[in-house]
C-alpha cells in the first residue's frame, strides 16, 4: 500500500513536471497539426462502399518512414506525444485500480451501463452551455459534469428498477443502458442541427479523443485521478471488507450502503474521465480487463490492485504509441486490444491462476497419484506373497515385482503402468532387475510403508466414524489419501489411538481378492 501511494505520488508529480516543462518551451504547437492523425471524424453518413470517394484521412503530405516515426514517438520528442501518453496512462492506471474493486464486488458490467448512460449528458451539457453563451459548448469540465450526472442517473436507475419491480439485474442493466444511449443518440442528431454545433468534436467521446488531448485536459485528469486514487487507497481496507463479506461488514457496523454508493461514485468518475482515452462504448474494458489480467498473477489483493494499475497503465501507454505510429487507427480500440493481449498472456502464463500453471499442477497431481498407487500396489503385492501379516522392511526390498503381477493390482493398462514405473525408477524408488521385473529400493520401501499406513489409517477412520461398509472403503480411501497432509495424518493417529510407526492390517479379508 505504501508502495502504491508513493507510485501514485510519482505519477502525479510526473504529470506536473512534464506539463510545466512544456509551458515554458514549445508553446503553440498543437497535436492536431501533427502530420499523423488518429482522429476518426466520419465524413459520410451512409453505409456505402465507395472507394472512389477520397477521405480526409487518406494521405498525409509526405509520410515519414515507420522507423523514423517510431523513433519520433518513443523518444518523446514531441510535446504532444508526451501529453497524450501521460494523459492516457494516468487514466489507465486509475481505471485499473478502481476496476479491481468493481470486479471483486461482482459488478463488472456496471461500468458498461455508466459509460453508455453518459451519452445524453454530454449532448445536454453541450446544448445548455451553447444556449447560455454560444461558442462555449465544448468546455470540457462542463461536458464531463453532464456526463457524470447522467452516469450516476444510469446507475441509480438500475438500482431503482431492481428494487421496485421483479425485473432481474441483468435486464435492468441492459434496459438502462439502451434507453439512455437511445436518448443520447436522439439528442446527438439534434446537436448536429444546432447552428454552430458541429457535433464531430462531441462524437469523439464515443470512441475516444486521444488525439486531441491538450495540456488542460491532462491537468484535469491528473487532479481527478489523484483524488480517486487517494480515496481508494485510504478506504482500501473498507472496500476490501465490503467486497469480501458484505454481511459481516454490516454486522460489524460498517455503513455498507454508503460504501457501495461510494464505490459506484468512483466508478462513474473513472468512467467519465476514462471516456477521453477509449470512448464511452469501450470504457468498461479499462475497468475490467486490467484487474482480470492481474488476478492471474497474484493471490493478494494489494498486489492485484498494483498489478491492475500497472496493466491499465501499460495497455494505455503502448496502445497510444501504436496508434501514434499508424494513421487511421482509433486509439481507443488499440488501447483495448493491447489490454486484451495482456489479458490473453496473463490467462496463459499467469503464475497463480494461469492456464499453463494450472495444467502443470494438474499433471503433477496426476503423477503424484500414480506414484502413490504404484508404491502401494507394490506393498500389497509383497504383503500378499509373504506369510507374515505385515511385510518386513527387508522383504519389501527383496521381493521381485513383475509387470504382470502389478497389472493385476489395479485397473490400469500396461502402457500407463510402465510410464509410472519409469518415473519411479528415475526417482530412485525402484530399480530394474531384469526384463519387466523390478525391486523397491530402500527409499522406495520406506515410502511404500508410509503410504500404505496412511491409507489404512484412513480406511479405519472411515469405518469407525463414517459407517461405510468395508467393501466400499478401499475406493474412498484411494480418493482421499492423495490429499492426506501431515496434519490430517496426526489427527487420524489421535482419533484411532494408533502408535507412531505401526501399520495396521488391511481391513479387507485379503486386499487383492477384494479388488477383483
Amino acid at each position: 500500500m505504501k508502495q502504491l501511494l508513493s507510485g501514485l505520488v510519482v505519477a502525479v508529480l510526473g504529470a506536473i513536471v512534464l506539463v510545466e516543462a512544456h509551458n515554458t518551451s514549445e508553446e503553440g504547437h498543437s497535436f492536431r497539426d501533427w502530420p499523423i492523425t488518429f482522429s476518426i471524424a466520419p465524413q459520410a453518413t451512409t453505409v456505402a462502399h465507395a472507394p472512389e470517394v477520397p477521405t480526409a484521412n487518406a494521405s498525409p503530405p509526405t509520410p515519414p518512414t515507420l522507423l523514423s516515426r517510431l523513433w519520433r514517438v518513443l523518444s518523446l520528442r514531441d510535446y504532444n506525444t508526451r501529453v497524450v501518453l501521460l494523459g492516457t496512462t494516468i487514466l489507465g492506471i486509475t481505471a485499473g485500480i478502481v476496476g479491481t474493486f468493481m470486479l471483486l464486488r461482482k459488478r463488472a458490467l456496471v461500468g458498461d451501463v455508466v459509460g453508455h448512460s453518459a451519452l445524453p449528458g454530454i449532448a445536454i451539457a453541450f446544448l445548455v452551455m451553447e444556449g447560455l453563451s454560444p461558442g462555449t459548448g465544448k468546455w470540457l469540465p462542463g461536458l464531463l459534469a453532464g456526463a457524470f450526472v447522467f452516469g450516476v442517473a444510469g446507475a441509480v436507475s438500475v438500482m431503482l428498477i431492481e428494487k421496485y419491480s421483479r425485473i432481474k439485474p441483468d435486464a435492468a442493466m441492459a434496459m438502462t443502458l439502451s434507453v439512455f444511449y437511445g436518448l443520447g443518440a436522439a439528442l446527438f442528431t439534434v446537436v448536429q442541427k444546432v447552428p454552430g454545433g458541429n457535433a464531430a468534436g462531441l462524437k469523439t467521446y464515443l470512441s475516444g479523443k486521444t488525439a486531441s488531448l491538450i495540456t488542460d485536459d491532462v491537468w484535469l485528469f491528473a487532479v481527478v485521478a489523484g483524488v480517486v486514487l487517494t480515496v481508494t487507497m485510504l478506504l482500501m481496507k473498507e472496500l476490501t471488507i465490503l467486497c469480501f463479506d458484505g454481511e459481516f461488514a454490516a454486522a460489524d457496523g460498517w455503513p455498507v450502503f454508503w460504501l457501495d454508493t461510494l464505490l459506484i461514485g468512483l466508478v462513474v468518475t473513472v468512467t467519465i474521465i476514462g471516456m477521453q482515452s477509449v470512448g464511452l462504448i469501450l470504457v468498461v474494458a479499462t475497468l475490467i480487463i486490467p484487474p482480470a489480467s492481474a488476478r492471474f498473477w497474484t493471490d493478494d489483493l494489494r498486489r492485484m490492485t498494483l498489478g491492475a494499475g500497472l496493466a491499465g497503465g501499460m495497455s494505455s501507454f503502448f496502445g497510444t504509441i501504436m496508434s501514434a505510429l499508424f494513421p487511421h487507427v482509433a486509439a481507443g480500440a488499440v488501447i483495448v486490444l493491447t489490454g486484451a493481449c495482456l489479458f490473453a498472456v496473463s490467462l496463459l502464463f499467469g503464475t497463480k491462476r494461469g492456464v499453463l500453471i494450472h495444467w502443470w499442477r494438474q499433471r503433477q497431481l496426476r503423477r503424484e497419484v500414480g506414484r502413490v498407487d504404484l508404491l502401494r500396489a507394490a506393498f500389497e503385492l509383497v504383503e500378499h506373497a509373504v506369510s507374515a501379516p505385515i511385510p518386513e522392511f527387508d522383504e519389501l526390498t527383496a521381493h521381485e515385482l513383475s509387470l504382470a503381477d502389478l497389472l493385476m493390482m489395479r485397473t490400469w493398462d500396461a502402457a500407463s503402468l510402465q510410464r509410472l514405473i519409469i518415473a519411479a525408477v528415475r526417482e530412485g524408488l525402484m530399480h530394474p532387475t531384469g526384463k519387466d521385473t523390478w525391486r523397491l529400493t530402500r527409499s522406495g520401501a520406506e515410502e511404500a510403508r508410509r503410504l500404505a499406513r496412511n491409507h489404512r489409517l484412513w480406511e479405519m477412520y472411515l469405518m469407525k466414524y463414517a459407517h461405510i461398509a468395508p467393501s466400499h472403503v478401499d475406493r474412498d480411501a484411494d480418493l482421499i489419501e492423495h490429499v492426506l497432509d501431515p496434519e490430517l495424518v496426526a489427527e487420524l493417529e489421535y482419533q484411532l489411538d494408533h502408535p507412531d510407526d505401526e501399520i495396521p492390517q488391511s481391513s479387507h479379508a485379503t486386499s487383492v481378492s477384494s479388488l477383483e
Binding site: 421496485y164 435486464a171 436522439a186 462504448i281 480487463i289
Partner: protein, 468 residues
C-alpha cells in the same frame, strides 16, 4: 400543445410510413429472441452480441468488396454475396462470442459477467480497428454502425417494387424467428426454466443456448442498418421486460412483447417528428425539426416500461399503493370494531369519554386522516353509527363483524399458546397483528385443530359465530 402535436403529425408522408414500418418490423424481429435472453437471465449477452456483431459486419463488407475487385463476381451479384456473408458472419459471431465467453470463464476461472466484459470489448475494438484499417477500401461509417440510419435505409426499395428493403429483410427475419419460437416453444421454455431438467429429458440445453445466440446475432445484424449496433439491445430487452410487468403467462408475455416492440417503434417515429421540434423551438433552437428515430425508439420503449412500472395492474407502483391503502383502512377499521366490541364485552357500556379513532391511531401508529377515513368507511357500510353525543357504537352488523375479528384474535392466541414457548402476556401483540389475515376458513381450521375451545389463554370467551 396537443393541437400542435397533431398538426406536426399531419405532415406524415409515405416515407414516414416506410420508416415506421421498417422500424416496427425490426423491433418485432428483435423482441422474440430477446424475450428468451431476458427469461434466461442473459440480457447482457444481448449487449455483448450487439457489440461483437460489428467485426462480423465489417468482414462481410470487406469480403464482398474484395471478391468484386478480384473480378470473381459481377457488381450485380455482389449484393447477394454481401447478404450471404452478413448472414454467415452473424452466425459465426453469435456462436463465437458465446463460446469464447464460456471458454475464458472456465479457463480463467473468472466470474461470468467479467469474462463477458473482456470478450465483447476486445472483439468490438477489433471491429473498430478493422473499419479504420481498411478505410480506403470500404467506407463503412462508424456513425451508421453506432446509431443506425433508418431514414436512409427506408428509402432503398426492393428492386421492381415500392416495398422498402428493410421491411422485406426484417419482416423475413421476424417470420423466421416466429416460426422458430413456435417450433421449439416447449424446448425453449423448459431449458430457460431449468437447464438441468432439460438435459435430463434429452433436450440439448447447450445446443439451444448456442442456437439462440446464433439467431440473436443474425437478427442483430439484420437490424444493424436500421437502428445501429448498440440500440439493438434496447429492442431485444425492453419490450419483454415491460411485458413481464403486465403478465405472468409466458405465451402472453411473448405476444405482448412483440406488440410492445411494434408500438415503441411506430410511436417512437411519431415522437421523433413532433417532440423535438416542440421542445427545442421553445428553447430557442427553431432549426431543430426532428431527432434520430432509432434513439427515440429506445427512449419510447423505456417510457412504455416506466408507464407499466407505475400503472400495471397488480405489479405496478400505483396498484401496490392502493393495495397498501386498502389494507391500512381494513386494519384500522377492524381495530375500531375490536375496541368497541371489547368495551361492550367488558362493561356493557358505551365508550363515552374516549375517542376511539384517536385511540386506534395511537395504537397502530397510523396517521389520523387514515383512521378518520376508515371511520367514514365503517359508517357508510353501516357497521357503526354515530350517536348524537358524537361517540361511535356498533350496529348489529358491526357486532357480527367484530365478533369474527375477536374470534380470530383469541383463536390465534390459543393456537400460539399451544405451540409456542411464550409467556401469556406476549401473545396479544402478535395476535393483534395477525387477526386481520385470518378469514373464516382459517378460523374453522383453528377451531377444529384446537378442539373447539371456548376460552382464550387469558380466560376470555371466544365468541361463537351467530349462524353456527
Amino acid at each position: 400543445m396537443i393541437h400542435e402535436f397533431f398538426q406536426l403529425l399531419s405532415g406524415w408522408s409515405s416515407l414516414d410510413t416506410a420508416i415506421a414500418g421498417s422500424a416496427a418490423l425490426t423491433a418485432m424481429s428483435c423482441s422474440l429472441p430477446g424475450a428468451w435472453l431476458v427469461l434466461r437471465k442473459h440480457s447482457m449477452m444481448g449487449d455483448a452480441l450487439s457489440h461483437t456483431a460489428l467485426p462480423g459486419v465489417v468482414l462481410a463488407f470487406l469480403f464482398s468488396i474484395s471478391m468484386k475487385q478480384a473480378g470473381w463476381v459481377s457488381a450485380a451479384q455482389e449484393d447477394a454475396f454481401l447478404q450471404l456473408f452478413l448472414f454467415v458472419g452473424a452466425v459465426v459471431v453469435g456462436v463465437g462470442t458465446a463460446w469464447l465467453t464460456e471458454w475464458v470463464q472456465r479457463l480463467g476461472r473468472l466470474e461470468g459477467s467479467a469474462s463477458l466484459g473482456v470478450v465483447f470489448t476486445a472483439v468490438f475494438a477489433l471491429g473498430l480497428l478493422l473499419i479504420r484499417l481498411d478505410v480506403d477500401n470500404v467506407h463503412l461509417d462508424v456513425d451508421c454502425v453506432l446509431f443506425g440510419i433508418i431514414e436512409t435505409a427506408a428509402l432503398q426499395k426492393v428492386p421492381g417494387t415500392s416495398i422498402p428493403e428493410p421491411v422485406l429483410v426484417n419482416g423475413a427475419i421476424f417470420l423466421a424467428n416466429l416460426l422458430l419460437v413456435v417450433l421449439f416453444y416447449k424446448e425453449l421454455k423448459i431449458s430457460a426454466f431449468d437447464p438441468g431438467l432439460a438435459t435430463s429429458l434429452g433436450i440439448p440445453a447447450r445446443g439451444i443456448h448456442y442456437g439462440l445466440m446464433a439467431v440473436t446475432a443474425v437478427t442483430v445484424v439484420a437490424a444493424f442498418t436500421t437502428v445501429g449496433s448498440i440500440l439493438v439491445i434496447g429492442l431485444l430487452i425492453i419490450p419483454t421486460a415491460t411485458a413481464l410487468l403486465l403478465s405472468e403467462r409466458l405465451s402472453v408475455v411473448l405476444a405482448l412483447s412483440v406488440c410492445l416492440a411494434a408500438i415503441s417503434a411506430a410511436l417512437g417515429h411519431a415522437l421523433t417528428l413532433t417532440v423535438p421540434r416542440m421542445l427545442f423551438s421553445r428553447l430557442g433552437y427553431p432549426t431543430i425539426e426532428d431527432a434520430g428515430t432509432a434513439g427515440m425508439m429506445s427512449v419510447t420503449a423505456g417510457l412504455l416500461f416506466l408507464m407499466a412500472l407505475i400503472l400495471a395492474p397488480g405489479q405496478g407502483l400505483i396498484s401496490k399503493l392502493i393495495h397498501r391503502l386498502r389494507l391500512g383502512l381494513k386494519i384500522s377499521g377492524d381495530d375500531i370494531l375490536g375496541v368497541l366490541f371489547r368495551f361492550e364485552e367488558k362493561t356493557a357500556m358505551r365508550p363515552i369519554d374516549i375517542s376511539v379513532p384517536a385511540l386506534v391511531a395511537r395504537q397502530n401508529g397510523m396517521r389520523p386522516w387514515m383512521v378518520s377515513l376508515s371511520v367514514r368507511r365503517l359508517l357508510r357500510r353501516d357497521l357503526v353509527t354515530r350517536q348524537t353525543s358524537g361517540e361511535l357504537v356498533l350496529t348489529d352488523r358491526g357486532r357480527e363483524s367484530a365478533k369474527s375479528l375477536i374470534r380470530a384474535h383469541r383463536l390465534w392466541e390459543a393456537y400460539m399458546s399451544k405451540h409456542f414457548e411464550l409467556p401469556d402476556d406476549h401473545l396479544h401483540e402478535t395476535a393483534h397483528r395477525v387477526e386481520h389475515f385470518i378469514d373464516d376458513d382459517i378460523q374453522e381450521r383453528l377451531q377444529s385443530e384446537l378442539n373447539a375451545p371456548t376460552k382464550d389463554p387469558h380466560g376470555k370467551r371466544i365468541p361463537e359465530l351467530s349462524d353456527s
